[in-house]
Amino acid sequence: MKKKFSILHKQFSKHTDPWGLDLSILETAYKYLLPIYNNYFKVRCFGINNIKPNQKYLFVSNHSGQIALDGVFISMALVKELKKPILVRSLVDRFVPEIPWIGQWMNSVGAVVGNRNNCLDILKRNQSALIFPEGTKGLAKSSTDYYQLKNFTQGFAKIASISKVKIIPVALVGAEEIFPFVYQNKSLNKFLNIPTLPISPFYLPLPSPVDIYFGKAYTVDSLKINLNKDVKNLKNIIQSMINKGLKKRRSFYFTYKQK
């Protein structure tokens, strides 16, 4: 990891970061998270060769796992697995910066508030971004909805179209079972005015093995106005990657069985 971070330091030390990235904090965080990534969640990566060096991408992934560990896994994979690491900027929900301590820490490790201007700025600066187009709905699923993609927002396709950046579809398998039995009471969440409140017998993340699949780069036509078809295509691609991944996944006591 030290070698990888020396590359990143060279890449990011020219200017102060407009989103508050602090590489020393990120390096420390990765130092402590790497044993958990390797030994606790036993993360495996597939299709890493689909990511070409010296290119910027828009990574589009399914959201899972109640506490957004998926973003951490993908970000770490792109640093750990690639010869020339990519420091991907995860776009987080708008409520995140309002959370004391968490908001500032997320900014320090490279997360950015999810809005179109920020994403366009990231890509303009030759950096890559990670988007979860399901939003919080994808993250805060009840166990009965695991591995079923929620509706995708269109924003990411517009951004890819404007920036002329290729999309890498990403499927994460295994992160749902980190919290295997969850019930989300939508009415209660609405009443309490909070986006997610997982009701579960387990509040300690369980060591479910995680697999990350990077798909082939997808190009969105820059001249298109209606991007519904692209959004639908990408949703289908990611869903089929998840389905294939579920068949190959390693066994775990609470493995979710697909309907």
């Binding site: 200017h15 102060t16 970061d17 407009p18 989103w19 508050g20 602090d22 708008r94 409520f95 910066p97 309002e98 004391p100 301590w101 908001g103 500032q104 900014n107 320090s108 950015v112 508030v113 809005n115 201007n117 920020n118 700025d121």
Partner: protein
């Protein structure tokens, strides 16, 4: 001979502008400020007057300036307890409008109007590079900021409406810092008792007073009428700033600051930390200054953030 009318001429930034302009030949400077000017420059005519239609008209008719640099906010002090906040705001807006109307009436050719980046507001979902066409959200949460938003709207409306007649530059600078500037944020940075939050660390952009005054003077050249953000491409976390200026600064959780500011405003210094500033200490409000840089390709910021803070420290 060019005649320039500068409002708020006793302020630190205005003094720096006057100092540079007074060295140039064929420029006559007229200054107005309700405060007494500490500095006196040759070739400058000062007026210590209240901001009112009569004062402005007297100056416009006597000196017939062709350029205005409007650096001060036209404010009326609440000397009479029966005056409500709404009434004072109304008075400030009317006087600002009167000033702009007179500028139009007396055939001003160039106007530089000073607004602030505060108009965008400090909100949790702000993009990191607020452009000039971003919505002005400052007054959504804090009515104290309604005035600066309303005045900014007045400036921009006036600029576009009269663009054929007057070349207008509306500037929205980031935090102006320097020895001569006594704004709230400088006081906050310097103050050992003004705390930072342990749970938030917003990004700040700083511009040195000398860079700002040089930029105002550069804007006197014929740049396209418009609204321009002023900020270098530097983003500094608040805790880094406080650490450099006050290594033993106070850190507290954010929820407790509202109570502390209320106590501070009642006991020590009233405006040490205004209520609305709390949001600016929690969430970033950083702007994109690239549009002005395109208009002024020869201009560059000479002071980086470390030099600015060293200057403030010393």
């Amino acid at each position: 001979m060019k005649k320039i009318l500068i409002t708020g001429c006793s302020g630190g930034l205005a003094q720096l502008c006057i100092k540079s302009l007074s060295k140039k030949q064929n420029i006559k400077i007229i200054g107005i400020d309700p405060r007494l000017s500490e500095y006196q420059h040759i070739n400058v005519t000062y007026y210590k007057k209240k901001y009112s239609r009569n004062s402005f008209e007297e100056i416009f008719s006597k000196h017939k300036p062709d350029t205005i640099i409007h650096l001060s906010r036209i404010g009326h002090k609440n000397t009479n307890p029966i005056f409500k906040k709404e009434k004072l705001l109304d008075l400030d807006l009317i006087t600002t409008k009167q000033f702009l109307d007179l500028a139009l009436q007396y055939n001003i050719k160039k106007a530089i109007l000073m607004s602030s980046f505060h108009v965008y507001g400090a909100l949790s979902d702000n993009p990191s590079m607020l452009t000039e066409d971003s919505p002005l959200k400052a007054s959504i949460k804090h009515s104290q900021l309604r005035e600066i938003v309303e005045i900014d709207y007045n400036f921009t409306n006036w600029a576009w409406k009269n663009q054929k007649q007057i070349n207008t530059t509306v500037l929205r600078p980031c935090n102006i810092i320097g020895k001569n500037i006594n704004n709230t944020i400088s006081q906050y940075f310097k103050s050992a008792i003004a705390p930072v939050f342990v749970d938030f660390n917003p990004l700040f952009q700083l511009v040195h007073e000398k860079d700002m005054s040089n930029l105002i003077i550069s804007c006197l050249s014929d740049i396209a009428t418009g609204v321009y953000n002023v900020a270098p491409y530097e983003f500094i976390p608040l805790k880094t700033i406080k650490k450099l200026l006050n290594p033993k600064h106070l850190s507290i959780p954010s929820f407790s600051l509202s109570i502390i500011t209320k106590i501070l405003s009642l006991t020590l210094k009233p405006n040490t930390l205004p209520d609305y500033l709390i949001d600016y200490l929690k969430f970033s409000s950083t702007i994109d200054g690239s549009l002005l840089q395109k208009q002024l390709p020869k201009f560059s910021f000479k002071y980086n953030w470390k030099e600015i803070l060293e200057d403030l420290k010393n």
